[in-house]
Subunit: 221 residues, 2 copies
Amino acid sequence: MASDHTRSAILAAAERLYADRGFGDVTLRDIVAEAGVNLAAVNYHFGSKDELIAELFVTRSVQTNRERLRELKAAEEQGGGRAPIEVILRALVGPTLRGCLGPENQRSTAARFMIRASIESVPPIRRIKNREIDHLRKFAASMRRSLPERSEVDIYWGLNFALAMAHHTIRESERLIKLSEGKCDLEDVEDVVGRVVSVATMTLTAAKVEAKSRALARDAR
Amino acid sequence: MASDHTRSAILAAAERLYADRGFGDVTLRDIVAEAGVNLAAVNYHFGSKDELIAELFVTRSVQTNRERLRELKAAEEQGGGRAPIEVILRALVGPTLRGCLGPENQRSTAARFMIRASIESVPPIRRIKNREIDHLRKFAASMRRSLPERSEVDIYWGLNFALAMAHHTIRESERLIKLSEGKCDLEDVEDVVGRVVSVATMTLTAAKVEAKSRALARDAR
DNA sequence: GATAGTTTCATACAAATGTTTGAATTGCAA
DNA sequence: TTGCAATTCAAACATTTGTATGAAACTATC
C-alpha cells in the first residue's frame, strides 16, 4: 500500500483550507496546490470531492463521538448503571464545546474545521449527520435510566435543548461576543459547559417551575 | 414604473425553488424557467443572483422582526415599560417558531424558505444576519429592564440560549422527530413555544438552582 | 403617431470547476 | 534485471454557471 504521503497531505491541506476559508470558496485546485500534489490525486485517492469532505468529517466525528461515549460509559459505570443527569449532559456537550471554543489562537485545525462544518452544512456532511441518530439514542437511553420518572418526550426535548445550546453557541459565538461587547467570555470553556449543562439539567429536573412557567406563558398568548 | 410582473414572478419562483430544493442546486436558469421569464431578467431587475437572494431574505426578515417588535412593544406598554420576562422571550422566539413549525402541508413558502436559509447559510444571507445585532440589542435592553437584579452577562446568555433552542429546533426538527420516533410533536407549535420560553425563563430566574447545578457539574469534572 | 425610455429576449461570453485520460514514473517482488 | 501494479502527472474535457450584449418589443408622453 506504499506510503500514505499524498493521501494524508491532501487530507491535511483540505482540512486546513476548509477551516480557514469555508467550503464555499475552496476548490480542488486550491487543495492540491496547498498539498503540493497533482490535481488528479484527489480523484485517484478519494473518488470525488464529496468523498474527500465526507472522510474528513467522519474522521473528526468519530473522534468526538468516541470521546463522548467514553465519558458517558465512565459515568455510568461509576454510578452502577445510572449516572447523574448533569454528568450525562456534560458528556454530551462537553467534548464538542471544549473542542470548538477556547482561545482562538490555540484552536486546532480540526476544531476550526468542525465549526465550519457546523456553520456551512454542505451536502456530504448533512448526509453523515443524518446517521448520527443511533449515537444520540445511547444518550437518550442513559438519560431515561437517570430520570426514570420523567416522560420520554421530556427526555428528548431536554436532549434537543442541550444540543441546541451547545451547537448554537459554537455557531454564533462571534455574534454573541459582539452582542455582549465581549462580556460573555467564550474562552472560559468550562464556564460555558457549566452554563449549558446547568440549564439543560434544570429543563429536565425542575418539573414544577417548568409547568408553571409554561402555563403562565400560555395564558399570556 | 410599469407593472412589477416580471420582478415579482422571479421573486416568487425563486423563493419557492429555494424553499423546496435549497440554495445549492437551484440555478438562475431554473428560476427563470419556473417564473416563465427570460434569463437576463434576473440581472436586469436585481443586479445579480446574490442580490436576489438578499432581497428575498431581507423581506422575510423584516417581516419577522417587525412582528417580534410589535409583540415586545405591546408587552412593555402594558407593563408600563417593564414586561414580564416570559412575555419578552415569547416575543423573541414566538414569531419565528410559529412561522417555521406547524403542520408541514400548511407551512408557507416563506416559512420553508426561512428554514432553508437557517440550514444552508449562504454568503449573502450571512452578511445580512450579521446586521441583526441591533435588533437583538432591543430585546437585551428590554430583558435588562425586566430583570434589573440580573447581571448583564446572564442576560446575554439567556438571550443566546433562547435563540439557540428556537433555531436549533427549527433546523433539526426532522432529526428530533426521527430520534423521538414522532413522540415530540412539532406540529403543536404553541407547546414548542411554551417549552422554549419556560426553559429560557428558568435560565434567567432560577438563580440558586443554576448556581448549584453549575457547581455540582464543575465538581464532576 | 413619433420619440424616448423601459423592459424583454435570444444568444454569446468567460471563467470556474470537478472529473477523466493516457502516458510517464516509481516501487517492489520474482 | 525484468515485469507488474500502484501512483503521479500534465493536459484536456465537459459542463455548469452567472453575467453581459445588443437588438427587438413594448409603453407612455408629448
